[in-house]
Structure formats: structure tokens, C-alpha cells
Chain length 740, copies 2
């Protein structure tokens, strides 16, 4: 395997500390630990999150993922001087997140203020073999002269969500003078969090344990002899009362640490790294590109999709920043179904099923929201968390100039999420042929979402309109007949009718209403110039030159020049809207129309949303505009991996990482699936000589290898697969090889 180290930091940079902390997050879907430094910095925001542990600080606040007590921080003093890279001199420095083993390693030599050198070697991982385990190791060596060392570490519950404290301290203990243990309870959601940690040192240093001001710490004092490393291993466990199959979180945390403490860092790392090896062996997308960043970006994207996904628990879904920061409060959006789930669907379909099950388990809450808004069926929340209720803040942050809070329209109008979920259900079915899921959960989701649309449409003299919605483009609010929404809604209802029929669950009343809906729903059509109107009024609005804003895409600087109301009245897009529709429904319009719309809407799109660029890349690739596509792809990769040192302070952009994978598979490899027919028609960037990736399809495991001139498809498991390559259909039994 061509091992690329996707994240290497060669220089300590205080300004970039939080973006690196997000990018270098380690985790396993249960747990996310930001890649913060062991030592503290004033600018540094630490973070440890457990999927599903949300809390509401006060009735003024929305529920948010809780930033848990810190387990990785340590305070190191050498000869009374606090170790920090801001002081003294850093002689050598390298920090690296090895995504192939899951280990974060930092090596450096530090000259203290008296000019003596000390070597530091920090290692850390979150286990992929045991969801609850975090381990770290630090080795400190005096290189020039003996010195006195004091190292303090433990459990730090002063950690909060930017000053909001969600946890009430329940219990703090040191068990048998070895294991530090503490339990906390969230103040509103009443969830228990149990932490335990155990330190082992090479020397015979006896720790002093102290509990004070929400910190439980062990301090090791050690005389350092020259060239004799002091090594401390710290093995920690995190359990919560929300964990499936765990009776007593507190007992479980202690037992875990007792068990793992005797195994030690290296053995635990090996177990975890072995799981990562399996992961990469089975899921990596390999790119031979003249530009090595392409491979890095894909590796990075897949790494993060893996650690952000709570694959262990179908009651949970994926936050918009994964478990890498507090951005978007850890809430779940349509990002999961349309941007991230496809990766799982085509590598481990079981995980995609669990993500749909999360929605299925919250049908009641979605019905509640729908009824409250005067509709039938399920209106899934725009933002959701553990309870499945709408979690979108009712009002935006206060406008500090006017003192007013604007109502957040998303929860009231961004209804396309309902159809997005239905779309994912259908996609899941055709990719897996999982009749059991479809016949039970899938069909319910399809029918209830369809019912929503049927009740949502307004009769305007016989024509049905879907009025007052927001499409994917959030710069255009409260419009009628958003093309994306209407086409997706129609698909939703159509598929419900089809599958109810297929499983003999036809409901005559529903069937009748669905047919009326499908016959009468207004479906926008391309105008004379071939442009599909984004909504009823969009194309009539004035245009402005967006060059200035496109230069700073992703930063929403247009809001400094125009109010949201003003933007709403111009042809300005935050993100792909019609283009998103063209991506999801590649055969809706002829290629020529697709191309025209791509060009028209891209010109009017600032790409202020991280969900935009990669979707443009896919549609451009399919249009044969490989150079444009590749440029869009490269720019999309820079959303997290670019040079802006603050880009990802509050977490990585989960959907955008998913979209990078989508671009490779559905853009450059150009796989499409029309119901049962898998098809491929590669549109490789010029400077990619080879693209290799695994792909699960209807129970078979395929491996695609694409060059500029040839396609190879190998079947590794499962039944024979029918594959259309360009216009010809092949049967893939063992392997096929097609010249392009």
C-alpha cells in the first residue's frame, strides 16, 4: 500500500491550533477526541464527545453535544518551568496523525529558558478495537543535564462548551491508589458519564492525588537523569448511561481500565491498529495522481467518515461536524443521508441501514412535528439529536446591532429533508435488495414521508404547488415550487406507491391521493434557454457580479454587504440547488440541458456552503467537463485541508468530506444506478493515471480499477453483477476488463 501520511504538522503554530485539533481528531464513532496538545494553550479548545450525549444548558439554549471532561491534557513542569512551546526554543518538531494506524504522534526537542534540552515523545490513540478506550503515552528525556520533573494529569471537568457547563459532578474517586474515577450527570437530559483513568510510569514515582475545583489529578514528581527517559502511559475509559448493553457505566469504566491498564499502551495500540488495517484494506480509494493531495484528501475524507459514524448504535446518527467540535451543536442534518451514508452503503451497507433506522425510530417525533405544522405523515426535523425532535433553534443568534433575533426559517420551511430521507431509503433498497428492511421499516418511511408531501401541496386552481419552502440553497428563502423540492417530493410519492404495491400493502385511499398528487403537482421545466427555474420567481430576480464573494467563498462575506432579505431578492445562491437535483437524478434531462444549468447556476453560486463544490464537480465530470470538475474537486478538498488556519476550528465539514468520496465514485468513476442497473462511464481527471476503489452492490463486493484507457472490475464476493459500461452491459462473474 502506498502509505501517505495525510496530516503532518512540521511547525508549532498557535494560530492553527484549533483547526489542527479538529483535523487530527481521533475516534471511533462512539467517541471523538480532538487532537489538542497535551499541554494547555490559551487559544486551544479541547474537546471530547460521545455520540448521543447531548444536553440543554438552559431553556434559552438548544440542545448541544456535550464537551466532556478532558482526559488527555497534562501539565508538565521541568525545574519549576511550565512546559510550553511558546517559551524556550523548539529545536525539532513533528506532529503526525497516522490515519492508517489511528495514532497521533508528536516528537520534539525543547530547550528550556536555561538552554537545557529535553526530548519529548507524545503518542495517543482512541481505540478502534474497544469503543470506550483512549490511551496515551509520553516519554520525557533530559538530554543535557539532570532535572526535576513534575507531571500532572487526570480528569478535568472544568472543560465546558465555551463556558456552558452541562455536567454536574456526581462522584470523584481514586480506587486503590491507582485508578482515578469520576461520574457526572448532564443537567437536563439526565445522562450519566463515567470516566476512569490509570497511569503507569517507568520510574517508581508515587503520585499525589488531588481532587479540587472539578479536577481530579495525579502528580508525578521525578528526578530525571540524563538520557534516562521518564515514560508515562495513561489508559482511560469512557462509558455513559446511554450505552447499549452497559448496565452500570461507572463499574464498566473501572473494569475497562483495570483490564486495559495491565495490557499497556503498545498492546492496545496494536489491537486498534489491526482494526484500522482491516478498514483501509477494505475501504481505501486509491488514486494515482500527479498531485498527491488528491490521495490525501480521499484518505482524510474516509478516515473522518469512519470516526464520525456511530455504527455501533442505530439510535444515533452523524453530526454535521462529526465528533470533532461543537459546530452546529452536534446536530444531524440531511448531510447524513445524502452526503455521508452513500460511502457506508457501498462499503458496509449495514451501517447505512442503521442510519436509516435512526430516522425510522423517530417517526413519532416527525409525525408530531408534521401535525403541529398542520400536515400529515412525517415532517422530519431539519436538525435533530438524541430525542428525534426538531432541534433547530427557533431564533438565530441575536442581531447585536438591532437587538432582535431573526426567526430561523430552516425548521419551518427546509422540508426537502423529508424527500432526502425517502431518496436514501430507495437508494438503500436498490443497492442492497434488502427486502426485510424495505418491507418493514423502509415502506413505513416511504409512505409517511409521501403522506407529508401529499398534505403539504396547495391546490391552486387544480395545479398543485409546494409553497413557501427553502431548497438546498439557503440564500433563497420562502419560495414556491423549488425545483429540487418538487422533483424529490414527486419521486418520494412515486416510490411509496410503487413499493406499497410491490409488497401488497396498497392502501386505496393513499394510492388515490398519491396519484392525484403526481398528476397535478407542478413540475418546473427548463425555459426557452434550457434553464430549469430554481423556483417560481428566481429567474426574474436581478443579478449582481459575485466575483468578489466567490473569491472568499465559504465565509459568507456577502452578509456584510447585503441583508438576508436583500440577498433573497437577487439571483444569488449559497450552494448547489438545481445542480444537486441534477446530481441525484442524472437522467432527468438531456445532457445538453444539464450542462446549461450547471453553467448558469454555478455562475450565480458563491459556494458559501461546504456542500456545494463537490456536487458541482460530480455534475461537471458527468458533463465531460473534466477540467472544471477537477478544479471543483480540488477546491472542495481545501475546505478542511486548505491554508486557512481557522477553517475547521469548530470541527471538520462532515458532508463535504462525504462529498469528496461521492466525487471520486459518482463523478470521476461516474457510477450511476438506475434502480437495478449499475452503470459506469468513467470521466477521469487528466492527471489521474489510476483510480481503484471497492464498491458493494446488491450483496456483491466489487473492486473497480480505472485508468485513462481501461476499466477493470473484479468481483471479490457475492453473486454475479450486471454492469453497464458506457452503453454496453457486462456480466461480472470474476473479473472484466474493458477498454475505454
Amino acid at each position: 500500500m502506498n502509505k501517505v501520511n495525510p496530516l503532518i504538522e512540521n511547525q508549532f503554530d498557535l494560530q492553527a491550533v484549533n483547526t489542527y485539533a479538529a483535523l487530527m481528531t481521533q475516534g471511533n464513532g462512539y467517541l471523538g477526541v480532538r487532537g489538542s496538545f497535551d499541554e494547555n494553550y490559551t487559544e486551544q479548545t479541547r474537546g471530547m464527545f460521545v455520540a448521543g450525549i447531548y444536553n440543554k444548558f438552559s431553556s434559552n439554549d438548544v440542545t448541544e453535544i456535550v464537551n466532556l471532561p478532558d482526559l488527555v491534557g497534562m501539565k508538565i513542569e521541568i525545574d519549576g518551568e511550565i512546559f510550553t512551546l511558546q517559551a524556550g526554543e523548539v529545536v525539532g518538531y513533528e506532529r503526525q496523525l497516522d490515519i492508517f494506524t489511528g495514532e497521533l504522534v508528536r516528537k520534539l526537542v525543547w530547550k528550556n529558558r536555561t538552554g537545557h534540552r529535553f526530548q519529548f515523545h507524545f503518542q495517543r490513540f482512541v481505540s478502534k478495537a474497544d469503543l470506550h478506550t483512549i490511551a496515551s503515552k509520553v516519554s520525557i528525556t533530559a538530554l543535557d543535564t539532570p532535572a526535576s520533573l513534575a507531571l500532572k494529569t487526570g480528569i478535568d471537568a472544568q472543560q465546558s462548551n465555551f463556558g456552558k457547563q452541562h455536567l454536574i459532578e456526581e462522584n470523584v474517586r481514586v480506587m486503590e491508589k491507582r485508578i482515578m474515577h469520576a461520574t457526572y450527570r448532564t443537567s437536563e437530559s439526565n445522562l450519566q458519564v463515567a470516566l476512569a483513568t490509570f497511569c503507569k510510569v517507568t520510574q517508581d514515582s508515587v503520585p499525589v492525588f488531588v481532587s479540587k475545583n472539578r479536577q481530579l489529578t495525579a502528580t508525578y514528581s521525578q528526578h530525571l537523569e540524563v538520557n534516562q527517559p521518564f515514560v508515562l502511559e495513561k489508559i482511560s475509559a469512557v462509558y455513559t448511561s446511554n450505552d447499549v448493553g452497559v448496565d452500570e457505566a461507572d463499574a464498566a469504566s473501572i473494569q475497562s481500565v483495570e483490564r486495559n491498564g495491565s495490557a499497556g499502551y503498545d498492546q492496545l495500540l496494536n489491537q486498534s491498529a489491526a482494526k484500522w488495517k482491516m478498514f483501509w484494506d477494505n475501504k481505501r480509494v486509491k488514486i494515482s495522481s500527479s498531485y498527491e493531495m488528491d490521495q490525501l484528501a480521499l484518505d482524510f475524507s474516509i478516515y473522518h467518515m469512519e470516526i464520525m459514524t456511530p455504527a455501533h448504535d442505530e439510535r444515533l446518527s452523524i453530526g454535521a461536524k462529526g465528533l470533532t467540535g461543537e459546530g452546529y451543536k452536534g446536530h444531524v442534518f440531511w448531510d447524513t443521508e445524502l452526503f455521508i451514508a452513500p460511502f457506508h452503503l457501498h462499503t458496509v451497507p449495514e451501517v447505512a441501514k442503521k442510519l436509516l433506522t435512526y430516522r425510522y425510530l423517530h417517526i413519532e417525533e416527525a409525525k408530531y412535528k408534521s401535525a403541529k405544522n398542520g400536515y400529515e405523515g412525517t415532517l422530519f426535523p431539519w436538525e435533530s439529536a438524541l430525542t428525534g425532535h426538531e432541534e433547530t433553534p427557533e431564533y438565530a443568534a441575536i442581531n447585536i446591532s438591532t437587538g432582535k433575533r431573526q426567526k430561523v426559517a430552516s425548521a419551518d420551511a427546509e422540508h426537502h429533508i423529508v424527500a432526502d430521507i425517502a431518496f436514501a431509503v430507495v437508494q438503500y433498497y436498490y443497492s442492497t435488495l434488502d427486502e426485510a428492511f424495505m418491507q418493514n421499516e423502509g415502506i413505513v418511511l416511504l409512505k409517511e414521508t409521501a403522506l407529508f408531501w401529499i398534505s403539504r401541496a396547495a391546490n391552486e386552481g387544480g395545479r398543485l404547488s409546494i409553497k413557501d419552502v427553502i431548497g438546498p440553497d439557503e440564500y433563497t428563502e420562502h419560495i414556491d415550487n423549488n425545483a429540487y423540492t418538487n422533483y424529490m417530493a414527486a419521486f418520494n410519492v412515486q416510490q411509496a406507491v410503487f413499493f406499497l404495491d410491490k409488497y401488497n400493502q396498497k392502501d386505496l385511499t393513499f394510492d388515490q391521493r398519491a396519484k392525484v398528487f403526481l398528476q397535478n403537482l407542478y413540475m418546473p421545466r427548463p425555459n426557452e434557454e434550457g434553464i430549469l427555474p430554481q423556483d417560481d420567481t428566481f429567474l426574474t430576480k436581478p443579478e449582481i457580479d459575485l466575483t468578489k464573494y466567490k473569491m472568499k467563498q465559504g465565509s459568507q462575506v456577502i452578509l456584510l454587504d447585503y441583508s438576508r432579505a436583500e440577498i433573497n431578492e437577487m439571483q444569488i445562491l449559497k450552494q448547489a440547488d438545481v445542480v444537486m437535483l441534477l446530481y441525484l437524478m442524472p437522467n432527468l434531462f438531456p445532457a445538453e440541458i444539464v450542462k446549461k444549468n450547471l453553467q448558469y447556476y454555478e455562475e450565480h453560486t458563491i459556494h458559501d456552503s461546504s456542500l456545494s463544490k463537490a456536487i458541482h464537480a460530480i455534475v461537471a465530470a458527468r458533463c465531460g467537463e473534466q477540467d472544471n470538475a477537477y478544479r471543483f474537486f480540488q477546491e472542495a478538498c481545501l475546505i478542511d485541508l486548505g491554508s486557512n488556519p481557522k477553517s475547521s476550528d469548530e470541527g471538520i465539514h462532515a458532508a463535504s468530506l462525504g462529498a469528496n468520496w461521492l466525487t471520486a465514485i459518482f463523478g470521476f468513476a461516474n457510477i450511476t444506478m438506475e434502480q437495478n442497473q449499475l452503470a459506469i462511464s468513467p470521466k477521469m481527471p487528466r492527471n489521474w493515471s489510476e483510480l481503484t476503489f471497492p464498491f458493494e452492490w446488491q450483496g456483491s463486493t466489487l473492486v473497480f480499477t480505472i485508468s485513462q484507457t481501461e476499466l477493470k472490475v473484479a468481483r471479490k464476493a457475492g453473486p454475479e453483477v450486471s454492469l453497464r459500461v458506457n452503453k454496453k452491459i457486462y456480466k461480472v462473474l470474476n473479473q472484466i476488463q474493458v477498454t475505454l
Copy 2:
């Protein structure tokens, strides 16, 4: 005036940052702002407190003084580098709290990592002329080369009590693009806090205002030309819903900043400094000593007594750390009445009255506690806050080894506070002859406290005992007939009888019961060796060598060797107990007995309490042991001003500072007051050539000037005073001069 600068820091020391922050606290009794650096440091604990603003974080917690959103912090970036004294090089550095003007000033030249020099000049004060105002000023000058500056400051509500967040954000505003304004509400006590701040800069830099994550900030970006200082003034206001005479805290805060913003830093400082000048002119204790630390310690003590005392509001009293930190949660102890109030009583008696009024206003809560414990009258809480209810935590912090919480005995048994308050009432009366207070509030306090003692005594075959108490010495718990307690209780009852009689309010039943109490209460007497037993069993307990622990006095290291239960069964004192009694009642026993007891008990006292040393100094001075007394005094001064860089991290030791003043006045000057008779019998340390201090007595303002050979007393105001000097009585009309 011989101007001593009591607090100068000549070197930046990260390890001492919090002790300096406490020592350099600025305030005015309403507001306390820790002397933290403007820029952030990981080790730095900021603090802003308003007297009376307490809150309980959860039902597991006790109420604590709320660490309010920060108004003084700023983030300074020069050419993209964050200004911190940990990085680059500090060429010149001086920080000074000028207690005579109330201004904290820091000057330094900083070389950034590229070697360019920048001059910084920071100034700050909390107004003594307007309780609600904080002002700061920073001047930044590029010395070598032009540079780009970014300065961010505002209102930072991420501040918490070590991770416990007490405040819910209510409202955040920028008024007319000038004034930042925010209001918060405490989560349990439901108090509103309103902050407003306004920045003015010399250049035409236009701020960018941002509200995010509980921080409301203005960022100024400025190009610095060489030798052209950028100056920013920040004028802030703090109001709360608990303020007397303020209807709308939020409107008041904005109006204040509007008014003061146009006045500007220098004018506001002048107003405040004028008040400080008046204060020092009237209250300073001047010492001509061969050791300049003596003057510094007294100045420091008086400065802090002034800023810790909420003289503006009789509903409030003084926390054990004043408003300088979170130690002891801001709770009020007996420290107020016996250690701090005397300073006010003999300089501005009105303030002493207000402190007693605080108790008077909470008679109902004290009755409630008394009744709950099965007694009559008032059992004042050992620790109290705004409500007047007992606030002592029921259980101590968890024992992390055993997982058990020990019950805190103080609230259950440290009952001497009842008599301490009564003592302060009597002392107030004789020092002021304030008949109005005594006839109304004073007499009620005396009677109710007396009733408590009468009901508290247990009849043991005719003899009355006060059983199961804790005296001032907290290393000896749950003992019977604590000498301090019994003598103070008898005094309490005696005085109640006397004053009820004096004001013709005699209650026959009470009178009868009081007389039975006084006749039968067991009063411990000195044994054959002349030692007054601290309690019924103390002198029978084994002794150990305390040398080791006395070496580390104040740190309670004995608890590492012995459990509290073990210490309880030995002759080990944390602090003055019998000695405290001998201080308060100098004529209780002959001088010889006093001397013997001082020596005996001092040998058995570790001085682990900061209330101990100075009291020993007073009694030693009165015994003619000036050298011992001076040594005790000097050691007492080091409690906050010693070389331990962590001594005062959580706040200064309020009672110990009060006791420094007590030592000068009641020890070295050796003023005593037997009811109506003021007396003095100087016991000056050998190396003090002169001691001068003001003293209020029964409506007269006296100024004492004492040398080794002579006493001068000048009457500045009020009626003629009768003064006994040594054994002779003088009438002080204008001035007397007595050779000693």
C-alpha cells in the same frame, strides 16, 4: 506622606500569576476585579465579583460568589503573533498596584519573535468614586518598525467558577455601534447582572463587533507607525438587580458608560484617586520601622479591608477572601465581627454598624436554624451569604480514597459565632455610645443570642455545661465546655441582662433564666500550673512534637500524617483558642496567668489557620514579650505577602489582614477598652521609632503618635476624651503628650 508602593512586581512569573492577581485586586466593596493580566495565560484565573451576587450551580453544590463575565481581558496580535510574555523577550517590565491612587499600572517593552520592540503601557482601576465603574487604558507603540495591530476586547461570559457556569445569557447588544452591552441571570438565585462597556481609540480604527460563544467583542485593526502610540480606553459599568436604588440594571449600565465614556480614563481616575487620597489621609497607620515591610503590610491590610467591605449596603457582609477570589465561596464567617469590623469601628463607625445590621436583618434565619437544632433564640450560621441561611456545606469534599464524605461539623457545633456577634454589638456600643442602634437592633441581637446560650446549656446535676462544641481551634471537635465558648457565652448573657435593664426592657422570665444560667454555668479555671483548660478533656490528651508541622504552618500538612479523628485526640491546635479569649478579655486573668497560657498554647499550636499568628502577637505584646510579638506579627504579614507564589491564589486572607491592623492598635499600641474607659499602654517593637494612627472613640476622632519614649494624642473632632495611659487617667481636650 511617606509614600510606599506596596505591590511591585519586577519580573513576569507565570507561577505567581494567581497570587499576584489576588493581591493586586482592585475594588470598592461593591465590585472586586482580580489583578489578572490583560492578556490570557493558561495558568491565570480571572475574577470579577459583585458583593451579594451568589448562586448555587446545582443541588449538589453550596451557594458561591459568582465569577462574573470578564471585562478586562484583551487579545493583542502584532503582525499576526499573539502577544504573550511567554514568547519573545521582555526587555523591561514593571507592574505596580498603587494603593494610594487605586491604579494598577504595567509597563514593558516586548521584543517579538522577529526581534522588533513594542512598548506597552497598561493602566486600570476600579472606581472609588462610582461603585459600578471599571476603566482601563492600554497604549501600544512600535519602537523599531511599523506593524499591524489587532486588539480584541469586550465582555467574556465564558468566565466561570472553575468550570461551573452560574449565568444564563439573557441579552447581548451593541448600542449605536459604540457600546457593548449584555445581561445575564443567575440560574438559581435569579439575579440579573448587566454589563456595558465602551472603547475609545486614538486612531480612526473602526471596530468589528462579534457575538459568539458567550463572548461579545470589538476588534480594532490598526497599522502602527513607529513611535506613534495606539491608545485604547475602555470604560465599563456593572449593575445588578440586587443593587439598592437601581430600578433597571441594564439601563443603568448603559447610561453609566455613556456618561463616563465622554469623561474618559484620566478624568475618571482623578475622581477615584481623590477618594483614595481622602481615605489614606484619614485612615492610614504610619509606622517608622527599620523594616519597611511593616508599613507595607499595614498599608496592604487597610487597602484590602477597604475594598472588601460592602459599606454601601447593610444587607451584605464580608467574605473570607473579600472580593479577591473564589476561596470559601465568598461566604461570611466570624472573621467579619472579630477581625475586620474593629478597623471600621475605629475609623468609620457607621460601617461597623452596617455589618451588625447584616446580622440583625437575618435574625429570622438564625432563629430558624436555632429552632431546627432544638434551641431558642438565634443560632447564626457558621457560614452565610445573601439569604442569611446556613451555607456551610453539609459534607466536606469527598475523600477520594474512601469515596466517603465527612460531615462538616462547623455548622453543627461552631456556635461561638453567636457570642462573637454579641461581643461585637457590645464593642460597637461602647465605642460609639450609639443609643439608637443599641436600643433597637443591638438589644434584640443581645437578647436573642443570649436566649440561644441559655437554651444551649445542659444541666449536669445543677452545673450547666455547654457540650459538644467546636471552639476557634478547629482541630479539636465535639468537646465540652470550651473555655472560649463558655466565657464568651457568659459575657453575652450578662450583657443582655445589663442592656435590657438599662433600656427598661427587662423581661422577668428571661432575667430569671439568665441569672440561673450565669450562676450555674461552669467557667473553667486555670489549673495548678496556671493553665486554663481549653475544654474538659484537652489537657489530658497526649502531646506530640509539632516542630515539623510548625515549619510548614498554614498548609495543614499534618493531615497527611494523621486523620482528623487522630488529631482530635491529641493536644494539637490549628489556631489560637484560649489565646483568642485572652485577647478579647485582657483582664480576665492576672498577667502571669496570661503569659503562662500564651506559652503553653502556642507550643501546641501549628498556626495552620491564618487567624492565629496575629492574635498571638497581640497577647504577646501585652505580656511585654515585644520580640516574640514582633516575630508573630512579621510572620502574620507573610501570610499574603510571603514568598509562597501560590499562597493567595484563591484570594487574600481577609481576617488575617484585619488582624494585622488589630496587632498594631491593640497589640503594639496596646489600646484596651473596658466598657467606657479607653486605655493605652504602648508595647512598641524595638525597631519601630514611631507609630501613628487615627482612632474613633465615642464620637471623637483621635490621632495617636507613639514613639519608644513618648505618647501624643491629638483630638481632631468630637467631645473631650478620657484616656488612661498606663495607670494614669488623662483628659484629652486638644492634645496630650505623655512620657512613657
